[in-house]
């Protein structure tokens, strides 16, 4: 797997899409089956290993190295897997070294190995691999491989191998399994096109780019349709006939995982509906009395392990349809959005079931009109469902349905998160790319203390700023340190000395763990208020008010992995 590791290493640094493609295509060209197939699986995220936790890796290295040397090294490198890969003791070298495992061996052994046998197996591999090989192996088995390659790009590299279009590979992809020997044979012209054996396959979803206010200048309102972005889980519902004539219905998450078993009520409704033949893209929501429930309610259903009859009654699942991907046997994805939308409206109208309805379009004439609709969904058509609106989607009327996140076709425009002005109190060095910068910031707001106003920490943020801002923040930290506690620096935070950060966050909850009694969800630095003296920062009362509003049922928007 040293060769695959070298590819990953190169990809991790390579910013250019075309160069990434060429590197991967070249790898597939010179690497034999099944090694390249497992590599493709790793690149597309189709491999998942259980059992290799950071704790195990930490244990292996502490058994082999001095604790102080490890601590100094880890502090310097800032990444556990990388530190271990670099400082793993190299016993035997040259010809005496055990042969490095192939990726195929690693994958096959991991799937056949029980947890207690994992440590010696892993240690043996680490002995046999070089630094890059160890890094790649550790990143792979801890599921932390981030090399800037999407599954689609990896498939495009396979397609390039035989001069095919990436969508041709996408078409046959579902139903194929690692190590994809038949796929490579077909692409290289040595075998037949693999048959998509599944009559109700997953179709890779089309995703949107986030949009900021300033982006609008470049977009013409007349070229777009707008619709609500619902706060549920993005799903695909497919129904088709098997060769024996029986109907098969499936529900997929947006990553292609089949989730039918968790929603038997919905799947049964699809099976029963004689008009539903095809594939729709939509949002799975819980509806009660025709009203969309908040994501919290949906989450209660998702959290239950057993699907009981009571659960089905209390949390009725529902799909709000965004798009029609297949109408009967015909693939609508190449059609423009406007045309698909029309077909979708007809499709939904024909349905007998109330489990599927249409996500309405938002009428607007210009961006200002859309902005006010987004600010007040209730008065712009979302009516009683307004609380479940997470923002708006903008879709080009002429956009075909392209898997992945194509540029310039679809945009998401989320609602504003919460924000407060807080004071920087402590900073700590970051990890990974930022390990030499003070990039983790603890911030606080004012409250009444025994001796007058005092700052109480309310959260910690380590993103939201640009690289330039990071440099400026880092410099500020270094120049305003008043105390050091191990890796932590205390920064001057007095009424007239210190730095105010505008912190945006997505939610707020009570927490006994924190001194302030509050915990923020997804806090990030939205602006650095160089202009503002700390005395003008916000007080805890503001957060209390926000929390009270949230608890009263307004606008809590927690996030789950399945949501876009």
């Amino acid at each position: 797997m040293n060769r695959f590791a070298a590819l990953l290493d190169r990809l991790a640094y390579e910013p250019r899409r075309n160069a990434k493609l060429r590197l991967m295509t070249e790898f597939f060209r010179v690497t034999a089956d099944p090694e390249r197939g497992y590599a493709l699986a790793a690149l597309t995220g189709a491999l998942s290993f259980a059992g290799a936790k950071p704790g195990l890796i930490r244990r292996l290295i502490t058994e082999r190295t001095d604790r102080v040397l490890f601590a100094l090294s880890y502090d310097y490198v800032g990444d556990l897997s990388e530190t271990v890969a670099l400082m793993w003791p190299q016993g035997r070298t040259g010809h005496n070294r055990p042969p490095a495992p192939t990726l195929a061996e690693v994958v096959e052994a991991l799937s056949a190995t029980l947890k207690p046998d994992l440590p010696p197996l892993l240690a043996g591999w680490l002995d046999a691999l070089d630094e890059t090989g160890r890094w790649a192996l550790l990143k792979l088995i801890t599921g932390a491989l981030r090399i800037g390659v999407s599954a689609r790009l990896a498939k495009a590299a396979v397609a390039d191998l035989g001069g095919l279009a990436v969508n041709e590979v996408e078409e046959v992809w579902h139903g194929l399994e690692p190590p994809y020997v038949a796929l490579f044979a077909w692409v290289e012209g040595r075998g037949p096109r693999p048959q998509a054996s599944d009559p109700a396959p997953f179709r890779p979803p089309m995703l949107a780019h986030p949009l900021d206010e300033e982006d609008f200048a470049a977009l013409a309102p007349s070229e777009f349709a707008a619709e609500w972005k619902w706060d549920g889980i993005r799903v695909q519902a497919v129904k088709a006939r098997r060769t024996d004539g029986r109907a098969v219905a499936r529900l997929y998450s947006r990553t292609g995982e089949e989730i039918s078993a968790a929603f038997p009520d919905l799947v049964q409704a699809l099976i029963d509906d004689e008009a539903f033949w095809g594939a729709i893209d939509g949002e799975l929501l819980v509806l009660r009395d025709g009203r969309v429930q908040s994501f919290n309610v949906l989450q209660q259903r998702l959290n239950r392990k057993a699907v009981t009859p009571k659960l089905l009654v209390d949390f009725p699942a529902h799909i709000r349809a965004y798009d029609l991907l297949a109408d009967g046997e015909s693939d609508l994805r190449p059609l423009p959005f406007a045309e698909r939308r029309q077909r979708l409206e007809e499709f939904v109208r024909r349905l007998a079931s109330h489990r599927v309805d249409l996500s309405p379009l938002i009428p607007f004439v210009d961006w200002a009109a859309l902005a006010s609709a987004r600010a007040e969904p209730a008065s712009a058509g979302a009516v009683t469902d307004a609380e479940a609106v997470e923002g708006c989607m903008l879709k080009r009327l002429d956009s075909p349905y392209v898997p992945g996140r194509p540029k310039g076709l679809w945009f998401k425009w989320k609602r504003d998160p919460f924000a407060v002005d807080a004071v920087l109190m402590y900073a700590q060095r970051g990890h990974g790319k930022r390990s030499s910068f003070y990039s983790d910031y603890t911030f606080g707001v004012w409250r009444d203390g025994e001796g007058g106003d005092e700052l109480v920490p309310v959260g910690k943020a380590y993103f939201g700023f640009t690289d330039e801002e990071l440099k400026a923040l880092d410099l500020f930290v270094r120049n305003h340190t008043v105390n050091r506690f191990g890796p932590v620096r205390e920064i001057a935070h007095e009424p007239d000395r210190g730095l105010v950060l505008e912190v945006a966050f997505e939610g707020l909850q009570r927490s006994a763990r924190h001194k302030s009694g509050l915990a923020m969800r997804f806090p990030r630095i939205s602006r650095i208020r160089w202009d503002k003296p700390p005395r003008d920062a916000d007080r805890i009362d503001l957060l209390e008010t926000m929390l009270a509003r949230i608890e009263a049922g307004r606008a809590a928007r927690p996030r789950a992995a399945e949501r876009e």
């Binding site: 490890f70 100094l72 990388e82 603890t442 506690f485 806090p523």
Partner: protein, 374 residues
């Protein structure tokens, strides 16, 4: 004499009172012994300078012939008496002309390593270990994570990229003295015969190497060709030029950087490097440790770099060791060292500058509030 009487620390750097000379002083002194030509070790303005002929030559190229009041050539292996002490220059394998300096007073022998490496380098004489009582070593890469791979493998990485992206110029950031010429020589060893282009900042030093009979093949200046015409070429430039406007005129350039720091991904990413090449002119961790053992020294002083880990390793292995926390080094060949490595040297009194944790760790020690609850 005790070692501490033979060599002490002054604000100008290591000083030998009985011999009345400094080694690699960072400010002008009456008499300086210079280990090698990197600008953080070899500075202009001293009264008398004793160094190898190549180091003197390099200083002349960089600072003009009047860089010192007087100069004297030290020949490798030939002792020179300076008052009651004897000094001998021995190859250090770092760059052309680089030397360790043996300082002997009576039965006591101290070796000042200067910067050194053990990896092969076709452009300079190989390091020779010298047994001694006190070994004064650098520790630029004094952490166990720094293990430099065989340079040939890194050169192969570069040439593979040139083959796969034949229309793109490959800009390789390298320090103008030593690294640049070594890279060219290593590339030539693979049989690569096409012209290699160099940035104007390396012209004179590269010419000096060639004049000293270092074989570098067909070397051309970038400015003689024009950047737009250099698709597919290998171009060696100072690291700083990679982010310059200068680099943008090349056809879709690939930014490579040859340095020991490239071993750590975060360092490579911070610099926007697309093709990191782990090629270093300093000893890596294994070589630092091996060399200390080979010298048989009972005591090790660590001049500059990552002192903590190396001192700890010495103590673990029963060798007396102390950090000197010397300031002013690492400016030339370690400019990209992160703030943590370069900004916290403790000064000459060797009290640690980093305050040790004394109390409770405040807020940030808690679990991160920002993370979604499980």
């Amino acid at each position: 004499m005790r070692p501490a009487d033979i060599l002490t620390l002054t604000p100008a750097g290591l000083f030998c009172p009985p011999g009345d000379f400094h080694v690699d002083p960072v400010r002008p002194v009456a008499r300086a012994l210079i280990t090698h030509g990197h600008s953080d070790h070899a500075r202009a303005g001293h009264g008398a300078v004793l160094a190898t002929a190549e180091t003197l030559g390099i200083m002349g190229v960089r600072y003009g012939e009047a860089f010192a009041g007087s100069t004297q050539i030290a020949t490798y292996g030939e002792p020179i008496a300076l008052g009651p002490v004897r000094v001998t220059f021995v190859p250090a394998g770092h760059v052309l002309g680089s030397a360790q300096i043996i300082i002997e007073a009576g039965p006591t022998r101290i070796v000042v390593s200067g910067d050194y490496k053990r990896a092969p380098d076709p452009t300079c004489r190989a390091f020779e270990p010298v047994s001694c009582d006190v070994f004064i070593t650098e520790a630029t890469f004094g952490l166990p994570v720094f293990r430099h791979p065989a340079p040939g493998a890194e050169i192969a990485k570069l040439l593979q990229s040139v083959a796969l992206f034949p229309e793109q110029a490959h800009l390789v950031g390298a320090y103008p003295l030593g690294k640049a010429q070594r890279l060219i020589a290593l590339i030539r060893e693979t049989g690569y015969e096409r012209p290699i282009y160099v940035h104007g900042a390396m012209e004179r030093l590269t010419d000096y190497y060639v004049a000293q009979s270092v074989q570098l093949g067909d070397i051309r200046l970038v400015r003689a060709e024009g950047r737009a015409a250099l698709g597919g070429a290998i171009v060696i430039c100072p690291p700083g030029a990679l982010q310059d406007l200068w680099a943008r005129r090349f056809p879709d350039p690939v930014a490579a950087f040859a340095s020991g720091w490239m071993r750590v991904r975060a360092r490579a990413r911070q610099r926007g490097v697309e093709l990191p090449l782990v090629v270093s002119d300093h000893a890596d961790w294994d070589d630092l440790c091996t060399t200390i053992v080979e010298t048989g020294a009972e005591e090790v002083w660590v001049t500059h770099g990552q002192e903590d880990a190396l001192v700890h390793w010495c103590l673990l292995n029963g060798i007396k060791a102390r950090p000197l926390h010397m300031l002013g080094y690492g400016d030339e060949d370690a400019t990209e060292a992160p703030p943590a490595a370069s900004g916290q040297a403790g000064g000459l009194d060797s009290t640690p500058a980093v305050q040790v944790a004394t109390g409770r760790v405040p807020g940030p020690g808690r679990p991160r509030e920002g993370e979604p609850s499980p």
